[in-house]
């Protein structure tokens, strides 16, 4: 009964989204204040019904209702209750219900927190979000309905959740990632709304900036968590594989990063208007493209959901409609966005332009590598290929290095034009300091690897410049100076430091890690990077829904115990799935990562041991980047509605004020 209620609720949510797409639009054209303002309540209705349906499915999982096909496939009575709840988004259908819930949450948030918008604009934005939701709900109901029953012959026991997904990572990674993915629909909606209204001034940039920053920050957290999860859960010790699905989340992130920067230029200086609109459209289009790649099964990937051509075709149509219509609209309106504001080539605008250029090229190269297998198969009569990580490393890394260099100088740049002295005066000294730090690190790590040397130098240069810039801005009275800085500045500062830390982590892990697969019998010892790794044997232990072989491995350094590690090889009883559970000795400076391979007889096991210096910095940097994104939203420009309203009501030639 509850499940039928959920099914019914999602149909009502679809109806709400249809109304949301139509009624406010009608209101705009008829200048009817009631219709014009109907968006808020419709968005609330859509959210409530989607939430009800989500709760119903969750109840189905918690109550082990195996008459629901989706629950029967992805749950089991032996599953701990928190995994039963997270199993709701453990496979295709439920994860798309979560996607819809996130979409309606964003829509609700926009309707609640956009009081500073005039009614006309607000109605247009909500209508765009409503139209996008229609497609999502239709997709859910017609191709991936999680509420289908297996009646009358339902199984008495479920097939179990994939053991890899029985983990804290699954509880948090998909929701955060979706919040980011779907959040990109908000700047998209703002862009489309301002295109349709013809209100092509920089105001839309000011409105969509905080939304973009938040969505981008969530996407950053989602990707960072995904990387961390892959690292500790897959048992391979890798944290990025250039896998098609990772790329599917990385491309929208790169574009959103470009968008975050170009929005700043558009808001502050009114430049790049048409380009920023195009970026907003592309960022959301790429997040849809990601959904297509993941859910259609066209690409080989470790993540791919079960393959169903019907779904792929549906998303492809949706993709074509959304991208096609928005680009058409863009093409019709772009001519009106002539900008006459100029800027010098050493200005902050130029830096942002270069940033956008590099990031866009990076997206194109990643896209090419990701869909090349598809194109090859189509054009070469079904010949299957894969594109290896070396391609991405060769192409992507050289693009990122100039980006870091640009970042180092950009914090010194000013809008419109920057004097050469400001930009370059202190650079010889700062480069020298960075070089000193790099050489110190090289001596410390006793390596002269050129990659390590070069990337560290760039990162230190960036850090030194950021520190010096902060020092300069804060001035003599440091406490008052700290208070004086805007959240936008803090956000920028944190995010750029985050990039430097991440890049340092990446280059150190890549160049200085020591990784071996080795056969070990009880008592065997292995020397690695100054650590002694001693295998003490394997014992059998029982978990709530699995049995495991648990290895005991002693990590010591110069005879002194550092940590005991207990990696496991688990056999999940319901599904008979085997899974590797690695164990990691964690520290800020290095991880010791051990995982069991398989038993080779005579109590000997194959064991994987990695020593990864600074690997934590990769995710630490990611967290800082995201925190930076969240911090910018605290800026008073976005909070103080009165000020904005006052500014907004200043005469603006093509601003249509609505009847309300």
């Amino acid at each position: 009964m509850i499940i039928e209620l959920g099914h019914f609720a999602i149909i009502l949510a679809l109806a709400m989204s249809c109304c949301l797409a139509v009624l406010p639009t009608l209101g705009v054209y008829l200048q009817n204040p009631v219709l014009l303002r109907s968006g808020g309540s419709l968005a609330a209705g859509m959210f409530v019904f989607t939430l009800v349906s989500f709760i119903c499915l969750t109840l189905g999982f918690v109550n082990d209702d195996f008459s629901i096909a989706y629950v029967a496939r992805n749950s089991n009575t032996a599953l701990p209750v928190y995994y039963k709840i997270s199993a709701v988004w453990g496979a295709h259908e439920g994860s798309f219900l979560l996607w819809c819930l996130v979409m309606s949450s964003w829509t609700l948030a926009v309707s609640q927190f956009s009081q500073q918008l005039n009614d006309d604009m607000r109605a247009r934005v909500l209508a765009v979000l409503g139209s996008l939701s229609i497609g999502f709900f239709l997709f859910l109901i017609f191709t991936s309905n999680p509420f289908e029953r297996t009646l009358p012959f339902f199984p008495s026991e479920g097939a179990d959740l994939n053991p890899l997904l029985q983990d804290f990572g699954l509880i948090v990674h998909p929701p955060l990632l979706y919040v980011g993915y779907v959040g990109l629909s908000v700047p998209f909606a703002f862009a489309i709304a301002s295109l349709t209204s013809g209100q092509l001034d920089a105001a839309w940039a000011r409105w969509s900036r905080p939304w973009t920053n938040v969505a981008w920050a969530f996407l950053t957290v989602g990707i960072t968590l995904g990387s961390w999860w892959a690292y500790y859960e897959l048992g391979w010790g890798g944290w990025w594989f250039w896998d098609a699905v990772e790329n599917a989340s990385f491309m929208p992130w790169l574009l959103a990063t470009a968008l975050v920067h170009s929005l700043a230029a558009t808001e502050k200086r009114g430049v790049f208007r048409s380009w920023t609109v195009l970026l907003a459209i592309s960022a959301f289009s790429f997040s849809l493209l990601g959904a297509f790649l993941v859910r259609s099964g066209v690409l080989t990937s470790v993540h791919a959901f079960a393959v169903d051509p019907e779904r792929g075709v549906f998303i492809l149509y949706y993709l074509v409609i959304v991208i096609g219509s928005s680009l058409l609209l863009y093409g019709l309106r772009v001519g009106k966005m002539r900008v006459t504001v100029g800027f010098g080539w050493k200005s902050r605008e130029s830096f942002i332009l270069a940033n956008n250029l590099i990031l866009t090229v990076a997206v194109v190269t990643v896209l090419l590598g990701t869909i090349y297998p598809l194109m090859y198969e189509w054009f070469m009569s079904g010949q299957k290929i894969s594109v290896g990580p070396p391609y991405f490393n060769i192409v992507f890394v050289p693009l990122m290095l100039p980006l870091i260099a640009l970042m180092a100088l950009s914090s010194l740049s000013r809008w419109r034009k920057t004097a050469s002295t400001v930009l370059l005066r202190d650079q010889p000294l700062r480069l020298l300091i960075s070089l000193g730090m790099t050489i110190f690190c090289c001596l410390l790590a006793s390596t002269w690897n050129l990659w390590f040397l070069f990337v560290s130098l760039l990162c230190f240069w960036l850090i030194v410049n950021l520190l010096a810039d902060a020092r300069y801005r804060i001035g003599r009275h440091w406490f008052a100076g700290l208070l004086k800085q805007t959240p936008s500045y803090y956000g920028m500062w944190m995010a750029h430091i985050g990039i430097a830390l991440s890049a340092l982590g990446i280059v150190t892990t890549l160049t200085l890690s020591e990784e071996i697969d080795v056969l070990m019998s009880p008592g065997d010892q292995q020397q690695m990077s100054g650590y002694e790794i001693t295998f003490q044997g394997v014992t059998r232990v029982m978990g709530p829904n699995y049995s495991a072989d648990r290895g005991a491995i002693e990590i010591s350094r110069q005879g002194e115990l550092v940590e005991m590690l207990y990696p496991e090889k688990r056999l999940y009883a319901p599904s008979q799935n085997v899974m590797t559970e690695a164990d990691i000795s964690v520290s800020l400076w290095r991880d010791v990562y051990v995982a069991l391979g398989e038993s080779i007889g005579n109590q000997a096991w194959s064991v994987r041991v990695h020593i990864k210096p600074l690997v934590r910095w990769i995710w630490l940097g990611g967290v800082l980047i995201a925190l930076g994104g969240f911090t910018t939203v605290l800026d008073r420009r976005y909070r103080n509605r009165k000020v904005i309203r006052a500014r907004q009501s200043k005469p603006d030639p093509d601003l249509h004020l609505s009847a309300g």
């Binding site: 090859y376 894969s386 391609y391 060769i394």
Partner: protein, 147 residues
């Protein structure tokens, strides 16, 4: 005005040359790093190149996995539903879902003797999943087995 025009032209030229050479380099990198996929039948028929990095996949044949006791070296046979098969050697830790009777994809090189020396063996996270390439190998067999 004229210098302005000339500067614009110069900028456009620089952009075209830059974009063109970037694209050429990227395509070059792409072509050097693609790994072609071969089915067991193709490997047997000698269609797969020797000593070039490729991917090959199919089913791990039953009772074919051998592991000499004191090393991480594994030997097994990959085949399709008919009789095509080829030997694979791999040194290292196999993925959790590697099992006899399961579909796998191996990455590596074919040596002179026709042995596939794999440096990576991929199985799926999910037991219900079959890599698309392998699924195709199996499906084409089924079709051709029909009377």
């Amino acid at each position: 005005m004229k210098t302005h025009r000339r500067n614009q032209l110069l900028l456009v030229l620089v952009l075209i040359v830059g974009a063109g050479s970037t694209l050429a380099l990227v395509l070059q990198a792409l072509n050097e790093n693609i790994n072609l996929f071969y089915s067991p039948a193709q490997v047997m028929a000698g269609e797969a190149p020797i000593n070039k990095r490729i991917r090959a996949g199919g089913m791990v044949l039953m009772d074919s996995v051998q592991r000499p006791d004191n090393s991480l070296r594994v030997k097994f046979l990959i085949g399709d539903l008919k009789s095509a098969q080829f030997p694979v050697v791999f040194e290292g830790i196999l993925p959790d879902l590697f099992r006899e009777g399961q579909g796998v994809v191996a990455e590596g090189r074919l040596d002179q003797a026709g042995v596939f020396v794999a440096d990576e063996v991929l199985a799926k996270h999910d037991e219900n999943y079959m890599p698309p390439e392998v699924a195709q190998v199996m499906a084409s067999d089924k079709v051709s087995n029909l009377p």
